[in-house]
């Protein structure tokens, strides 16, 4: 090979690699751009809602009941009360059931048995069922016979609870699994029974993880609109429910939907303000979850 030929070959290689460098740069820019789609939308969405709703936000807005005739005097008290009642009632349902299921699957279930594998596959599939379908389940069996609760807070809470139960179970299982087996073995070696070991060692050790999972599940539950629509909850009410087993109720997502779909733009503004109330509740809950995780999480 002559010197010239070698030079040409080198040039070709260099040109190819320079072309490749340009391509790499464009590719990297495109990737960053796609990352921007989610970020920019999130940013624009938050700014948009704040600008639209911020000026309507006041203590009166939170304490007044919604009004069909006067947007200025309309508020979200019944929706906030409904959402908080739903949250507490749902928690009372999903904590025992979710944690018990997680303990069963992690500490007792023999994976070689078909019924235990069925439970696992089943939970995986339930997590992907659309929320509106849970609404139909609630309508068919909880609102109507056999439970026949009617459209009350308890019916809404059970429906939402079934919807988010897979979240609690999955997170609680991870937390239980993270407790090292040496802890269990130590407890068993000292003569504790299987259940005593779970109750005194495994559960306390996994509590921060479980609490995080419960908060995550509840924040998903209170943001849900579709299941509550399907079971027939009111879009807004001018009263708070007296208790969870009687009276019509509403919740923040439903009242937001009512405001947002009103033809009157003043009500749409109230929708944005109500969204800010909902987002504030969610921020507080998630901050609580982060705090719990950082404060109490054990490193084994």
């Amino acid at each position: 090979m002559s010197v010239a030929e070698a030079g040409i070959a080198r040039l070709a290689v260099e040109r190819a690699s320079r072309g490749q460098q340009v391509k790499d740069l464009i590719f990297r820019a495109a990737l960053l751009l796609s990352l921007g789609v989610g970020f920019i939308t999130l940013g624009v969405l938050l700014v948009d809602v704040t600008l639209d709703g911020g000026s309507s936000l006041s203590w009166d807005f939170i304490t007044n009941f919604p009004s069909r005739i006067s947007p200025e005097r309309s508020g979200v008290q019944s929706a906030v009360v409904g959402t908080l009642l739903l949250m507490v009632t749902t928690a009372l349902f999903i904590v025992p059931v979710g944690v018990a299921t997680a303990i069963y699957l992690e500490e007792y279930a023999d994976r070689d048995r078909w019924w235990n594998r069925l439970i696992e596959v089943n939970i995986q599939n339930l997590a992907a069922v659309p929320s509106v379908v849970y609404g139909l389940l609630g309508l068919a069996f909880i609102v109507r016979a056999p439970l026949s609760l009617g459209t009350v807070v308890l019916a809404g809470a059970l429906t939402l609870g079934l919807l988010v139960l897979p979240v609690v179970i999955v997170v609680a299982r991870e937390a239980i699994r993270a407790v090292p087996s040496s802890i269990r073995e130590g407890s068993l070696a000292l003569g504790a029974t299987h259940w005593q070991t779970i109750w005194k060692q495994t559960l306390p050790g996994s509590l921060p993880g479980i609490a995080t999972g419960v908060i995550l599940a509840l924040s998903r539950a209170i943001g849900e609109t579709a299941p509550l629509l399907v079971i027939g909850a009111a879009l807004f009410t001018r009263f708070n429910p007296n208790d969870v087993t009687s009276d019509q109720f509403t919740a923040l997502p439903l009242t937001i939907l009512r405001f947002v779909t009103d033809a009157d733009s003043e009500y749409q503004t109230l929708g944005a303000a109500a969204i800010l109330v909902l987002l504030a509740i969610l921020v507080v809950m998630n901050a609580g979850a982060v705090y719990l995780r950082n404060r109490y999480e054990q490193k084994w």
Binding site: L33, S34, I123, L126, P130, S131, V133, G223
Partner: protein, 291 residues
């Protein structure tokens, strides 16, 4: 003795999840059968006019437009979510520094935690007017705006699952490719991406299943009319949005109108269940290879 009782109680709790599935299937099938007896299988599955709440002669139960609209809206969403979600995942797994990842991943999770009603408000009051401002002549309720926002809504699902899949590709494959002189892009596109393909497909399928079942964005921004049109500027109604809208419309619980909820619910349930099983299958495939 006490230990046995506790085990039984725990197992009963676990049984609730199985009962939930059974309940869903029973509720949907029971009323769907009644519905099909009244309407007829052919009229439901092959009818091209969906006006179940109209009176007299105008009433028609052909589900084709509803399914078509659901898939159409999902397709618009996926046009946004697949490139943006996969692009985000590739950047996070192949380019981002650990510090960048630590900051950015939680923000993507925040996006996934925003209630859907907020996205509905955003589509109706921000995206639709924006589309008009840039010269696209959309009606107040339209498929385009709802579909685009639907895409942003399922983007985190696709990005998270795809990122997991890409990150689980062994480092040795990357090092081998770099050693042969490949550039970063070549490693990402020709080595890591194909190696993680089954996990990526799983994420995309799961995203599509989310989009198909999403209710509120479409209810708020896309309108209430199932429409056999190709024009994304017009209004459309998905299956989930129909169920939500109709349950508000005070239909009689025993009449055939009330039964449509369950027939459409069963159709939707079967579609998402199929997609979810496909997704689970793909996830298993990549786990078997690398773990």
């Amino acid at each position: 003795m006490g230990e046995q009782v506790i085990k039984v109680l725990l197992a009963l709790a676990a049984l609730i999840s199985v009962l939930t599935t059974t309940g869903i299937v029973v509720a949907l099938i029971r009323d769907s059968i009644k519905f099909l007896e009244e309407v007829g299988v052919t009229d439901y599955f092959f009818g091209t006019k969906w006006t179940p709440l109209a009176g007299g002669d105008q009433q028609s139960f052909g589900v084709v437009p509803l399914i078509y609209n659901t898939l159409y809206l999902t397709a618009i969403g996926m046009l946004v979510a697949v490139p943006a979600g996969l692009g985000s995942a590739i950047y996070l797994s192949e380019y981002a520094s650990p510090r960048f990842r630590r900051i950015v991943k939680p923000i993507i999770e925040v996006l996934a935690g925003v209630p859907t009603i907020v996205f509905g408000y955003f589509a109706l009051t921000f995206v639709t007017p924006l589309l008009r401002d840039i010269g696209i002549d959309v009606s107040t309720f339209n498929a385009l705006s709802a579909g685009l926002v639907l895409g942003v809504l399922v983007l985190p699902t696709i990005a998270t699952v795809a990122d997991d899949a890409l990150s689980s590709v062994p480092q040795s494959l990357r090092e081998g490719a770099f050693g042969l002189g490949a550039s970063r892009m070549q490693v990402a596109v020709r080595v890591v991406f194909p190696a993680a393909l089954s996990g990526i497909v799983a994420g995309v399928v799961l995203g599509a299943s989310r989009a198909i079942g999403e209710t509120v964005v479409i209810l708020v921004a896309a309108g209430q009319l199932a429409n056999l049109t190709l024009d994304p500027q017009e209004q459309m109604q998905s299956m989930a949005a129909f169920i939500a809208a109709t349950s508000q419309a005070d239909v009689s619980t025993q009449g055939v109108e009330g039964l449509t909820l369950f027939a459409v619910g069963l159709t939707l349930f079967v579609m998402t269940l199929l997609l979810n099983s496909i997704s689970i299958r793909f996830v298993r495939k990549y786990r078997q290879v690398y773990e």
